[in-house]
Amino acid sequence: MIVSLNEIETIVLKAARGAGMAWGLAEEAAQAARWLAARCLPFEALFASLLESEAWRSQVRIDGTSLSPRLADGWLCPIQAGAWLSDLGDNLPVRIERVLCPLLLAPFAARRKGQFELAWEGATLLFDVGAVASPPQRLAALHIARTDAAELKPAGVFEARRSLLVPNKGGSSIDVAGWSKLQNFEARDYVPASLGSRLSGAGAALSDND
């Protein structure tokens, strides 16, 4: 199925909220999904697994510009960590330990000014005034499910950059399995109709035929 960026933003907003994220974080998740989809990067499986994890409920510890889960075996939510990363301003370096789906940090990193890189085990992304590039690397490392540490630091020198900017020309072909998981989370936002709500909720009880 081909979907629009607005549909992606909307389903992730509702699914994140349906899964129990605070509204403000769900808004961040929605913008992050839109950012990825606008660059033709996959988002649906990442979000489906993140929402299943409920990692945003983890207790976190801040140490300067470093963030880690309070429990040694805990994992951080990349939306929660990403929002913090965005809130911090443009300070470097930033270290985020034990984080799920580190690619979901990229949309937040991209809001920062200047030139820097975001790296985790096996993957590096270069940010340069809004543009994003990566050296040739295994795609699997980009979509890794978790990493011990993701770091934001001054940019190193890349040979042979590959732009991650494949502009979305309108419509993203989505993975139906991931999308339907998101739909299941989304459904938790909706209120089933009752007879009373049908009459009062939308306020229409007059005839429409004239």
């Binding site: 809001r111 089933p192 939308a202 229409a204």
Partner: protein, 560 residues
Amino acid sequence: MAQAAARETIALRPAKVVMQLERMGAFHQTRLSFLRALLRRMSARKWRVARQRFDIDGLGVGTAIYSVQAETRRYSLVAFGHQLAPEKRTDRVIAEEWDATFVLCDGTPDELALERLRSNVPLQEAGRYLASELVLARANRSVRLFDQVVAALAAGRQPDAAAVEATGYLMRTTAVYGNGKFGIADRDLLKDRPELSAPFRAEMLIVYLIRSFTLDLVEHLAMLTGGKNAVRLDPGLRRRFGIGNATGLGMAPFLVKHPALIDRWMSARETALARVRNLDRADGEAVALFRTALAKSHRLLANWLTDDAIQMPRIERLRRDLVDLDRFAGASVLSGDRPFDALYRFAESNLSLEAQEYVVTLIIEPHGALVDELAEHMGIDEATCFRIDGSMRCGDLKALIQTHYDFALSVDFEKEDARARFWYVSEEKLEPRLGERFKEPGMEREQPLAVARDIHSLARALDEEAPETRLAAFLLARPEHRHAARRVQIAARHPYSEIRDNLIGADLRPIDILRCKLAFFGATRFDPRSDKWLRITLFQGAPFPDELQGEGLALWAYGG
């Protein structure tokens, strides 16, 4: 030194005056309204509209295509006519069939694309679309007037003008979907197209084209029925047909979810008003236009009727108020100092809110050269307002709340009346609804539209925080306040971003939110059918595409 040079500039009306729902619910169309800005652009840039195809049978079933050459790009309206059983004709969004369904698309659809559209557009939200489709809409006939007009034309006579005026349209749209719904083009795809980048421009365009279709349709059906006896509509009477629209709660959350955008709309309107009020003198042409618009308004308002027990007395008061305005606006006022400010101040001190806002409309009207460019700045890239400044200290955020949210801090949310309602999305139709918190299930699934309550709660949480704590750390620990904190930072830069009322209070009238948005669209003849939905008319009196180059563009919105 001349005294005039030293005097103060009249400032924009403050948000605490403008952003009250009671006042927003009294707004009228102005020359900045979106459909009027569309027609000005179509006229200035010489857009060409042509009927490319009209294969419709005697029952109204078939396909029609209209093309629009809009500057460098071409668009098409594809219309499908259907046969609809009377019991299925409903304005509510729960409908599944309509008299006609429409899509506005890029370019000219070929046969293959047309087949795809034919198997999806009649299904509306149950269909799927591509980014080459921009807006989706459907409409139902106003049965009584539609049949009456066809019968009259078929018999060789013009329909009864009073009946035309009483209804004002042949068809009523019941939903107009843009911005990426069901796979159609995301707004981002239009933002670099100058002809369609203004807010709701593509939506206004489809509605305008649908209006032409409805008039072509009645003339066509009359021809099929009456043969050589049939006549076409008299051009003057033809213009008195607008297009109807029925709108419910579905559009209410928009104004709350897009604070920075609403600020642009309001700022444009308030800036226009302030520019006009600051004029030292009225020129003769402006005075003449103002007087004509006011004179026409008496007749226009005589035709604004509703069964609504609250709105009808307001309309009657508005009619009387305009008589008072007429009396006040004598030669001495209009040839005096700051004449339009004098009119505004008279209205503010003596007239109802409906009339005060009507005066805003009337005094802006003659000043196109002064204000029309504001209509080009009513959009905003909201992504630029999204990022929270986490380096702000909690004490500073609290101060911003005290400055901008007194309306929220003054509410006692311990009282049930203050949180009697909740906004939710219905599982049945995925549409926004307003529930009774203490009577209906579902409040745990509340939508984030309870701005005043959430800001109130953020303020309390900030009370417990050290003032020097950075927001980044506070929000990491208290993510439940993140959406409210974002709003506060937006409000600090966008004075008209917040509706200054409690949107979950027992006394909320959601229709005020709808009315405000519809006035920005350019709607007229607001006809509330409850406090949650209403009917309106769009484009009534407007020139048709082939009349846009003529003399008729001025004051068309004030009736014939």
